[in-house]
Subunit: 153 residues, 2 copies
């Protein structure tokens, strides 16, 4: 039994070791490039398509709204491991608060993820006004996080 | 009735017009940046995580495999509208065949999408060997498309 527990413990330690190696092998500049790629795509689907739809600047298309909500559901999970401490000194628009106020940064991520989840649900409900309102809520969650954690241009 | 048909026809024409305006408003260099962002992320999840798992270079993690398969299901739909004819002269690694042999390019996209779909199904089945084999099939579909449509470095 002790031997079995030891084996399990050893496997966990080795597993954790492997995972750490896998993460630490990604160069900081690559991590930054990857997280910026996610932002580029979120911008494509929110600022380029969903928000103008919600604002009546382009016609509302329920299929595009649902498709983009699904894309955002995946995209909104992707950037965060790219803000690793190893990237602190890589040139980007990430403010120092990303690395110093990690609890508030996590809160902003969770808020954004929550709004995206509500958008996915709204697009399934089929109420155009509700979808449009939720698109603007997602867009606002982007802005709030950028206000606190991204350098102004 | 004729009046109604005319109204529907007019709405379609106006709708198409709006859609064309929306697409043509995106600058060619932005379209290239967006499609390259998708490739960066597909590379993160395939070459950086799934393929080394399938090759036994890092430990297999069924949860990561399923999560990444879901990400790829979304990502693999995103790049194609970025290969618009307007981007033909923007500097990138896209070969002229992307714009001249559109049928073959579409076939390569569909093949890749199909392999990703099979990967999503495999990760739901829970058979590690099947998932690993399908990861390599996805990776091969990436390579085949790159061989024909992307400039060698």
């Amino acid at each position: 039994m002790n031997k079995r527990l030891f084996s399990i413990g050893l496997a966990l330690v080795l597993g954790a070791g492997y995972a750490l190696i896998a993460v630490s092998q990604v160069r900081p500049d690559v991590l930054v490039k990857q997280r910026q790629a996610v932002m580029t795509l979120q911008n494509k689907y929110v600022s380029g398509q969903l928000r103008p739809m919600a604002q009546g600047k382009i016609p509302y298309d329920a299929n595009v709204a649902a498709r983009n909500a699904g894309y955002l559901d995946a995209l909104s999970q992707m950037p965060w491991d790219g803000f690793a401490p190893s990237t602190k000194d890589v040139k980007s628009r990430a403010l120092p608060a990303v690395f110093s106020d990690t609890a508030k940064f996590k809160e902003a991520q969770d808020r954004f993820r929550g709004e995206v989840g509500k958008l996915v649900a709204a697009t399934k409900g089929g109420d155009e006004a509700a979808v449009k309102a939720q698109i603007l809520a997602v867009s606002k969650a982007c802005d709030t996080c950028h206000d606190n954690f991204r350098e102004k241009q």
